[in-house]
């Protein structure tokens, strides 16, 4: 009987671990442990054994039964885990697939900078003004104190229209229009499109963009001009840069200055961008000429003011490292897509 039990055990321990699914496992359970199983019938025969044999065989039978039960339960767990794993694999996404493309466009870099400049000046307490691009000689030259002989008035410099008007050569005429209409204090910037009769090349465009700043009030000084301009360039290009003023000539400001900023590329050490000077030329500035104030019937003894004009295209090019102004107006998507 001992041998019979050993064979039975052997068989069960071989078959159970290799069964393939829960259904098979269940039939094995019935086969080895069920009511009609060999084990059951052997258990039934215990009574017929001798007193000495009875406990030994009984123990062996019970031990075998427990062993088989454990085997089945272990196998069951293993099978369950396997099914679950299979299910997960089936549900699993390939997360490397691309997401649904949501198209995003971009503002033109010039207008990105335009808006940024407006926002800086709004935060400094300025208002945004505007004026016409098509101007009269009066606003573009005469009211701005431009002498008759000034070369800017030439056909080779300025676009004239067949009706005798012209395309403004700078945003300065907005100064005059604003001062004619409003009394001080004035605190504006006027961004806009300007025109010069230039053949297009890497640094010239017949159409360009500029903004004019104008502040007029009691007690406005050259120091206010320097402080305001410095606040602006630091907000635009970061705290490392600063501005400097070189004496210059503009008809409508006195004293006049050209503005440079410390090269944003090399911080003044000298590089290709600044042609090894350490400085970048930014535009013109100065105290509003008393003649201009008189022109708009301001009391030029009581009021003083400053003005400056900077190129928006120039700032855009510096900011993004664009070396040719013509690229701005070509509208090549390979360029535009870089500004998303």
């Amino acid at each position: 009987m001992k041998e019979e039990i050993q064979t039975l055990r052997q068989k069960a321990l071989e078959e159970i671990p290799i069964c393939k699914n829960l259904k098979e496992l269940e039939s094995l359970r019935i086969k080895f442990l069920g009511r009609k199983s060999k084990l059951s019938s052997l258990l039934g025969q215990i009574g017929q054994l001798s007193k000495e044999q009875r406990p030994i065989i009984g123990d062996l039978l019970n031990q075998t039964k427990r062993e088989i039960e454990n085997q089945i339960s272990e196998r069951k767990d293993a099978l369950l885990l396997e099914t679950q794993k299979k299910k997960i694999v089936k549900q699993e996404l390939d997360i490397s697939f691309p997401g649904r493309p949501i198209e995003i466009g971009a503002k033109h870099p010039l207008f990105k900078i335009w808006e940024e400049i407006e926002d800086i000046f709004i935060s400094l307490g300025f208002e945004i003004a505007e004026g016409p691009e098509i101007e009269t000689e009066y606003y573009n030259f005469d009211a701005l104190n431009t002498p008759e002989w000034h070369p800017a008035r030439n056909l080779s410099d300025t676009f004239y229209l067949k009706n005798g008007m012209l395309l403004r050569t700078e945003t300065s005429p907005v100064q005059i229009r604003v001062m004619e209409k409003y009394k001080p204090p004035i605190r504006i910037i006027a961004p806009g499109r300007c025109y010069r009769n230039d053949k297009p090349d890497a640094s010239h465009s017949p159409v360009f963009h500029q903004f004019e700043a104008l502040v007029v009030d009691v007690g406005i000084t050259f120091a206010d001009l320097k402080g305001t301009l410095d606040s602006f360039v630091k907000r635009l290009f970061g705290d490392k840069t600063h501005s400097r003023f070189r004496p210059h000539f503009f008809p409508f400001t006195e004293p006049s200055a050209e503005i440079d900023i410390l090269c944003i590329n090399c911080n003044g050490k000298g590089c290709k961008l600044c042609k090894n000077t350490g400085w970048l030329e930014m535009g013109g500035a100065g105290m509003v000429d008393p003649e201009v104030l008189k022109q708009v019937n301001y009391d030029s003894e009581k009021y003083t003011g400053f003005a400056f004009g900077l190129g928006i295209d120039r700032i855009t090019m510096l900011r993004y490292g664009i070396h040719d102004i013509r690229i701005l107006f070509k509208n090549d998507l390979r360029f535009l897509q870089q500004f998303v």
């Binding site: 691009e133 056909l155 229209l161 204090p185 017949p206």
Partner: protein, 802 residues
């Protein structure tokens, strides 16, 4: 604090209507919170003269009185009081009067009507006497307002006194400020004692005072009054106290309260008999020492608290509240008056730690003037003598170990003008300083200013400058940085909104130059008289193809499309937002902002999970509709067929804002596209932003209450002849009951074999919702039937299903 207008006027002449006076006060820095006409509670209560008294036929204790109230006819009033007699003057509450919370109405007592109530003192809130009606002594005209009889016709001005101004916590302090404000003089009460009743003894012989801690009590004055009679205060005292919100108790307590409101300085009166050994000691309490105060609470003190004590016990919590053991009783004969000054910080700390506040602590913790105690204590003695009799003992006991001297501040005229941006001359500043009772010593154009001790808030030059500014008047200081409004904010914001919106929808912005070639109009198929041919020509152009200023952005955008197609890009969206220029005879040319966009190729890009989708007419329409939504003008927009010559006929639309054309969109003709060398599918939209801006209604976002009641959705499918537009049907359904039909939207179009030729089936989803109630099925069924009937009748359509 409450100011009695009558009381105030006793010290300073004011010849202004109350509203104007209060307005001035507010602008001067004493903010008026409320003005109450005191005596309003006696509205409709008048003096009545009893013409006759007859017994009530059905009652043995009621009388029927005829009372003359100065009107055409005497009033018939039922009265139950035993003391009512003919010819008496009585307070009569007419119909409409309020007695406490009780409103007088016409009443019927045992069959006889009564048109008012003759009042007792209790009913009028004057005393607790309810034994009979109040009988007025003296002569009065019938009908005189009762408030006038009581002399309580007064304004009570409730003002906010900022915590830095303890000097304003009394009528005299306010009067001083008002005098500066109105550029007039104020007076203080004239103090004199009745010589016949002056005591012979010296206060100092009967009372001694000792200050243990001069840090916490810099000064203490005491005065003795003997043989007083404690009783209720006379009416004028009571009226004043009530006006400023204090409850009358007895003449002694009332007078100390009266002085509290007059001088703003708290005082206390002790029963002399209960001050053991006639000695007052101002000392720190012992830790654990207990005292029962007038609020009948027992407080356990610590050495952080200051007490007034005699040799045995504490008799008051200094500056906050008196003790029960020394309080004034009806039997009190001799009293000690205390007028002292305490350390504000210590009073505040004690008040906080014991959670005990009083009118007294309120003032002491803000700082009281130590140099006016004699005047205050004498004034108090004067009024006590007036109302309670007694003999005022000679002199006061005054312990003032270290006299507190006024502060000195140096004031520079130039600094005043620098701060205020004024041009005040030294003599003007001087006149202001003198108004404030500052002592000044001129040093050139500057001043050494000695600040009276009643102004603890003034310590520095800048504090004096504030006083000068108030005196000069804030409204007289010019305003400097007031910028004119120059910018067109709506335009700037609209342009930015449009730009951001299109960028977020996948468009790239382009920027082209302003010049154009004159041949572009022919390429666009524009007729000879098209407005876009109204061009401005340059006199010295860079070349023929740059010789005019552009009147439309379309040609440049086409060049951009051609360029990018040549780079093997097939699907993209571009827009430009820039000026166009039109000739304008005799004037500056007209510069207008234009918006032009183009979609080339697919609208939806290719994706592994869905197919690409060629851009359609309705894609562009959707973009424009979303744009109008963010510009808040959807309701004013309409679409109609366009006859722009560059679009495919029947596949284009004009856009109208309030019936003004602002642009168009549509699918481009092949030949137009090939004129610009474009071999691709392209749709454009072209909007004149300037026209849009000049016609757009200004609509702000304004929150509407969300509707609590659930919406109900119904679908309807109808077969409609081709000619009838979806918009027309939507409008018809909508207009049926716009209150309840919240939305109509097309969700299906069908043109199959089951539908007749030249017809189509349209399915709409209608949303019903009311903001007043939940809509019942029955109600909606009925409404729905009506809509169907109307549609059938108006358009001769067929109902497919519902």
């Amino acid at each position: 604090m409450k100011i009695s207008y009558n009381w105030l006027k006793e010290f300073v002449p004011i010849d202004l209507p109350i509203e104007e006076f209060c307005q001035k006060l507010t602008m001067y820095g004493i903010e008026v919170e409320n003005i109450i006409h005191f005596g309003d509670e006696y509205e409709n209560i008048v003096v009545g003269k009893i013409v006759s008294v007859k017994p009530h036929p059905k009652s043995d204790h009621l009388s029927v009185c005829l009372v003359d109230v100065g009107e055409n006819k005497p009033l018939s009033v039922i009265c139950g009081a035993p003391n009512v007699k003919e010819n008496q003057n009585v307070p009569l509450a007419k119909i409409g009067a309020m007695l406490g919370d009780f409103k007088i109405k016409k009443a019927k007592l045992r069959g006889i009507e009564s048109y008012g109530v003759i009042c007792s003192e209790k009913e009028l809130g004057i005393s607790d006497d309810h034994s009979g009606i109040m009988v007025l002594e003296g002569e009065y005209n019938a009908g005189t307002p009762f408030a006038e009889v009581l002399k309580i016709d007064d304004y009570v001005i409730d003002v906010e006194i900022t915590p830095n101004r303890p000097d304003l916590l009394g009528m005299i302090g306010i009067a001083r400020e008002v005098a500066v404000m109105l550029d007039t003089k104020y007076t203080t009460p004239k103090i004199e004692f009745n010589p016949d009743m002056s005591g012979k003894q010296l206060t100092s012989e009967l009372l001694s005072v000792e200050i243990d801690d001069p840090e916490l009590c810099p000064r203490y004055c005491g005065r003795l009054i003997k043989n007083i009679t404690v009783k209720p205060s006379p009416g004028w005292v009571q009226t004043r106290l009530k006006a400023v919100g204090l409850r009358p108790i007895n003449n002694i307590v009332d007078i100390t309260n009266y002085i509290l409101m007059e001088y703003g300085h708290p005082l206390h009166a002790f029963d002399y008999e209960n001050i053991s050994e006639n000695k007052i000691i101002v000392r720190r309490a012992k830790d654990g020492e207990k005292i029962e105060l007038l609020d009948e609470q027992i407080y356990t003190l610590s050495s952080q608290n200051l007490v007034i004590a005699d040799n045995e016990k504490p008799v008051a919590l200094a500056g906050i509240m008196g003790g029960v053991n020394s309080s004034i009783l009806s039997t009190t004969k001799d009293i000690v008056l205390e007028c002292a000054c305490f350390n504000p910080k210590n009073i505040r700390a004690t008040s906080l730690s014991l959670n005990l506040e009083s009118d007294s602590s309120y003032r002491f913790e803000r700082g009281m003037d130590p140099n006016r105690l004699e005047e205050v204590i004498d004034r108090t003695a004067q009024l006590i003598q007036l109302t309670a009799g007694g003999e005022i003992c000679k002199g006061i006991v005054d312990v003032y170990p270290k006299k507190i001297l006024p502060k000195k501040v140096f004031l520079r005229t130039q600094r005043v003008n620098h701060i205020l941006d004024t041009k005040l001359q030294p003599y003007t500043i001087k006149s202001y300083l003198l108004k404030f009772e500052f002592t000044i010593f001129e040093k050139g154009e500057n001043f050494e200013v000695t600040i009276p001790t009643f102004r603890p808030d003034l310590e520095r030059e800048i504090d004096i400058i504030e006083e000068i500014a108030r005196c000069y008047g804030y409204k007289n200081i010019h305003s400097k940085f007031s910028l004119p409004r120059i910018e067109d904010r709506q335009k700037r914001e609209t342009i930015r909104k449009i730009r951001s919106h299109l960028v977020n929808l996948g468009f790239f912005e382009v920027c082209n130059l302003s010049f154009a070639s004159p041949d572009v109009f022919d390429k666009l198929n524009l007729p000879k008289d098209d407005y876009r041919r109204n061009i401005i020509e340059l006199a010295n152009p860079l070349g023929e193809q740059f010789s005019i200023l552009r009147t439309t952005l379309i040609p440049d955008l086409f060049s951009n499309v051609a360029l990018n197609l040549s780079h093997k890009l097939e699907h993209f969206k571009l827009f430009e937002l820039n000026n166009v220029y039109f000739k304008n005879e005799n004037n500056l040319p007209s510069e207008q902002v234009s918006l032009t966009g183009v979609i080339v190729g697919d609208f939806v890009p290719k994706y592994w999970n869905s197919k690409s989708q060629l851009s359609s007419f309705f894609d562009v329409k959707g973009i424009l509709e979303s744009l109008f939504k963010i510009l808040h003008c959807t309701h004013y927009i309409s679409f109609k067929k366009s006859d722009e010559p560059f679009y495919i006929t029947g596949q284009s639309s004009d856009v109208l804002l309030n019936d003004v054309k602002i642009g168009s969109y549509g699918i481009l003709k092949k030949d137009v596209l090939s004129n610009f060398e474009i071999k691709a599918h392209a749709i454009i939209f072209d909007i004149n932003v300037s026209t849009l801006l000049s016609h757009i209604p200004h609509e702000e976002i304004y929150y509407k209450e969300v509707i609590k009641f659930p919406p109900v959705l119904r679908d309807i499918a109808i077969i409609v002849p081709q000619g009838i537009s979806v918009a027309e049907i939507e409008t018809t359904i909508n207009s049926f009951n716009p209150e309840i039909i919240k939305n109509v939207s097309l969700f299906d179009v069908y043109k199959g074999s089951q539908i007749r030729e030249n017809h189509r089936s349209l399915a709409f989803s209608i949303t019903f919702q009311s903001d007043k109630s939940t809509l019942t099925d029955k109600y909606i069924d009925k409404l729905f039937d009506k809509i169907v009937k109307k549609l059938l009748k108006k358009y001769k359509i067929e109902l497919r299903h519902r």
